[in-house]
């Protein structure tokens, strides 16, 4: 009888050991699973980011091609201003100015028509207001600096003076 009891104690110990081992392995498995899920999630995020960046790159590339000359043209505008002024004094420069303007227009440069139009903050920048009874309030009264569009994108805003009504006499 005693022998039987001893054996079953050993058996019980073995059983406890393997149960503990199973528990440990189950825990490891659980941890491994959740790490794997975390990694998969991260991987999918990375792929998604990559896809989005590629898509955006392609879009930006198209835009860049379209507007490639925009920066250079913007830098040339002060030269146009100077030539415009010079042309008032000298016939030769007038021709030169027209020549340059012709080339740039062919590329897509157009001057913004400001005077007399309603002030538009998406095309004009107001420098100051002028009191006048002749123009409707909010109309561009004077152009201080010409603005330009390049392929329908504003490359320089027109600097203008905006009309405001004459000061009403104080009652």
């Amino acid at each position: 009888m005693a022998e039987d009891a001893e054996m079953s104690l050993e058996q019980k110990e073995d059983q406890c050991d393997s149960e503990a081992k199973i528990e440990e392995l189950e825990l490891q498995l659980c941890q491994a699973r959740s790490l794997s899920e975390e990694r998969l999630d991260l991987l999918m995020h990375c792929r998604a980011d990559l896809d989005n960046v590629l898509r955006r790159s392609a879009r930006e590339k198209e835009e860049n091609v379209k507007y490639a000359s925009e920066k250079l043209i913007a830098k040339l505008l002060p030269v146009l201003d100077s030539l415009d002024q010079a042309a008032k004094h000298d016939e030769g420069t007038k021709v030169l100015y027209a020549q340059l303007l012709g080339i740039l227009s062919a590329e897509g440069l157009t001057a913004i028509d400001a005077v007399g139009k309603k002030f538009d903050p998406y095309q004009h920048e107001a420098l100051f207001q002028v009191e006048t009874g002749e123009l409707e309030e909010g109309t561009v009264a004077e152009e201080i600096q010409k603005g330009y569009l390049f392929n329908s994108r504003v490359v320089r805003f027109s600097k203008v003076a905006v009309a405001k009504p004459l000061n009403a006499a104080k009652i």
Binding site: C46, F119, E125
Partner: protein, 622 residues
Amino acid sequence: MSKIIGIDLGTSNSAAAVLIGGRPTIIPSAEGTSIGGKAFPSYVAYTKEGQVLVGEPAKRQSVTNPEGTVQGIKRKMGTDYKVKVYGKEYSPEDVSAQILRKIKTDAETYLADTVDKAVITVPAYFNDNQRQATKDAGTIAGLEVVRIINEPTAAALAFGLDKVGEHKIMVFDLGGGTLDVTIMEIGEGVFEVRSTSGDTQLGGRDMDERLTNYVLDRFKQESGVDLRGDSMAMQRLREAVEVVKIELSSVLQTNLNLPYITADASGPKHLSMTLTRSKLEELIQDVMERCRGPMVQALKDSKLEKADIGKIILVGGPTRMPIVQEFVKSFMGKDIERGVDPMECVAMGAAIQAGVLGGEVKDLLLLDVTPLSLGIETLGAVATKLIERNTTIPTRNSQVFTTAADNQTSVEVNVLQGERPLAKDNVSLGRFTLVGIPPAPRGIPQVEVTFDIDANGIIHVSAKDLATKKEQRITITAPHKLSRSDIDAKIKDAERFAADDLKRKEEIEVKNAADSLLYASEKMLKEAGDVATAEQKDKIEKAIADLKNAQTGGDISEIKAKTESLQTSIYELSSAMYQKAAQEQQAQQSQSGQGAGPDQGKEQGSSDQTVDADYEVVNDKK
């Protein structure tokens, strides 16, 4: 799942950024970028017609609508101040919400996804009311503000200062109109503000004013004309002065040219003067001096000495100027941190915090890149690149190479690091040999060489014979830890010697081409046998001898010329061979017209040109 964005809601300018692929990226403003950088002005305008404008458009109409245009609303956050326009009332939170709403829209367009959450930055000295008002502004705009962080903290994050242990740092923030100096303590992910000081009426705008006045006064002196009354001239001048100021940060002097700036009784007037950096620095000396006080005060209040400050960060556009950097450097007695744009760092830092909160930055640190190109040595002691420098790792690339000589049964792979076209000018990281390649004529075997760099930067190079599947590999662990300056020096060398190297590489290619052609020609003569007439044989043999002579002589143009004449003679023979074959075929066939054209001789010839397509691995067995 949508991303959380980071927002720098500034007094004069605002910007937003988001983490893309782990890197903070500024979200572009819908109205495009302005001169200074990627931010937009913090302007909100309510028009009589009931429209709301934000940013650049609002600024452009501000003069026509002073009652409805609001700028610098940040100064009123957390107070009971009310903006009263056209019969309506708005709180500072309402106004700020308009700015945030624009940012939300721009972000959604840029990311092509909804954006509902944000991290917003505030000055370190903002109290609870001000912070709560910022949060409320977000809510009104449809954004859940998951965190409010201090601007200097965001800047520190952008510079990676949270990753370099414990530090006491100073953040010097000089913007368009304000100076803020903050002393912070960083460690273990905790950011603690020790003290703040500043000047709310000091900034880049003061510098513009000094320079403009100088130019006006000098012009008056030189020409007798005062431009101050001429609005068109003033406009041109202001724009030009701003460009000059920015240019003088990178050059020592520049020209300011405004021809036909104005005209008076005596005729048109031109403005043309040279402006130097030293003059600019002289003009803004008093502005710089005013920067001293806040630094002194901040140190005093933090109870720290200059020597205690480990790192210094500069924030704001004007800090790009060398004089500002020098001023802070000499005051503090140590160099400033570099590597992040001072105008973007606050928004970037907010984006980094947003990424952490959004779970994007767990163990994924910024990926590394290979600083220098990697490749192997090929025929003629040339370096053939397999991985370009600055490729993000982990990465792998394979290429198939072949043998340089007949019966070559082994190939030696010499792994090279560097940018020069010639192997000897690069660093050899290691060599190994693959043996057991079945004997074959040169150019026939296929050996695939693979470079595999793992996430830790360890380089694995392998060479595999595609026929036998035999493979040999080498692992390179710490490839010569080069410092940044070493790397830059090597890249500069490559650029400096580019012309020479190119010439030498071309010479090698001419020699290689000559070798290949000789080999192929001798082979072809043998194969042609009787097809070649005695005359053709003689011609070719003479051309071969000539080329061999040229090779011994070493004159590159000679070699090139003789290669071409050998090629011509070979073509004649090969076209003859094909013609004969075509005739024989026609004779065999009873019916008509299926002869192949004589031009196919080109195919035979061009297979000798595989020197261009196949690279050949050097065999060092002599």
